[in-house]
């Protein structure tokens, strides 16, 4: 059972590395670092596990799979918390409502997200990223999906249908 401490130790290293990277280097795309740290630490865990507990029995192999799955789960929980809670929409709403009591009316909150430019705050952050990532092409204020964007959109739609999630995007 002590084997399950391995993914906990690896996650502690992942968290420390990620925190130090974001605070000290302030990268534009932290997820690339998270991905690299996650992959390196999974590889390290597999090597350490196999050295300490050679795969002699099926139990050892299942134990290795469990350790890797737990490590991935912990790292993904961190990743999701970072992007979905700290950067995400619901987290942002709660942050705004807590820090600015004057926004605690639905219409005022909506107005605060409308912004002053041609696009609201939500679109203004996402659309340029999608264009830069070549998911969309922009032409005279019209947006067209690229092949890459169609692929991701089709995969998303398939998952939405497979799990009866409606149109997704947080709207129910």
């Amino acid at each position: 059972m002590i084997r399950l401490l391995l993914p906990l130790a690896a996650f502690a290293a992942f968290f420390a590395l990620s925190l130090a990277t974001v605070r000290l280097l302030r990268p534009a795309q932290p997820r690339r670092f998270f991905l690299a740290f996650g992959a390196i630490l999974v590889a390290a865990s597999v090597l350490i596990y196999r050295r300490l507990w050679p795969l002699d029995r099926l139990e050892d192999a299942i134990g290795l799979a469990a350790c890797v799955a737990v490590q991935l789960l912990l790292c993904l929980t961190f990743w999701n918390s970072f992007y979905s809670l700290l950067w995400g929409f619901s987290g942002g709403l709660m942050h705004d409502l807590l820090s600015d009591p004057s926004l605690r009316y639905v219409d005022r909150l909506v107005r605060s997200y409308e912004g002053t430019g041609p696009t609201d705050r939500i679109m203004a952050r996402r659309l340029p990223n999608l264009v830069a990532g070549r998911y969309l092409d922009e032409n005279g204020g019209r947006f067209t999906l690229t092949r890459k964007g169609r692929l991701v959109g089709a995969a998303t739609l398939a998952v939405l249908r497979a799990f009866s999630l409606g149109m997704g995007g947080g709207i129910r």
């Binding site: 134990g63 799979a65 979905s84 709660m94 605690r104």
Partner: protein, 165 residues
Amino acid sequence: MIATAAAVVSASLAVQTCGASVMAAVIRGRNIYGTVIAVSAITAPAVVGFGAWRLGLGNDGLVFLAVLHLALGGLLFHFMTLPDRSVTLRLLVELLLAPQYTLAMADLTRRYSLQAMIESRLRQLAAARFLTIGADGNIQLLPRGVAFGRFVTAGRRLFRIQSAN
């Protein structure tokens, strides 16, 4: 042996994915995250039973198998947040369903409006007892909402996130 372990991983993931898909189709409107947790918890004893019966695992092996199964359920849980919550993926789906995969900004914001986005999120936060919304649109934070807001604020400070949404 490694092939058997890989087959166990695949089977566990397949059982949970299919189970969540079927349960979501049968019980429409139920929260998908609750569905994934329920499927994971319900199928775990069966997986452990299979491990004891067909794979001949000892106690440690059975614990590893249960942990593996539940961790894979956790990964499925996280995976669901992508299509279910992501604004970015919703934008791609709206464009995918549009003629010639093209929309003007005005059409895009009409199909997926800021007002609808915010009101839906507020309703979900109210349903989860993070806040209440009065008839006049007044929002009151509940203790759980205050704790969540503080968590986000502290997290943003810890990671030096200046502005986000």
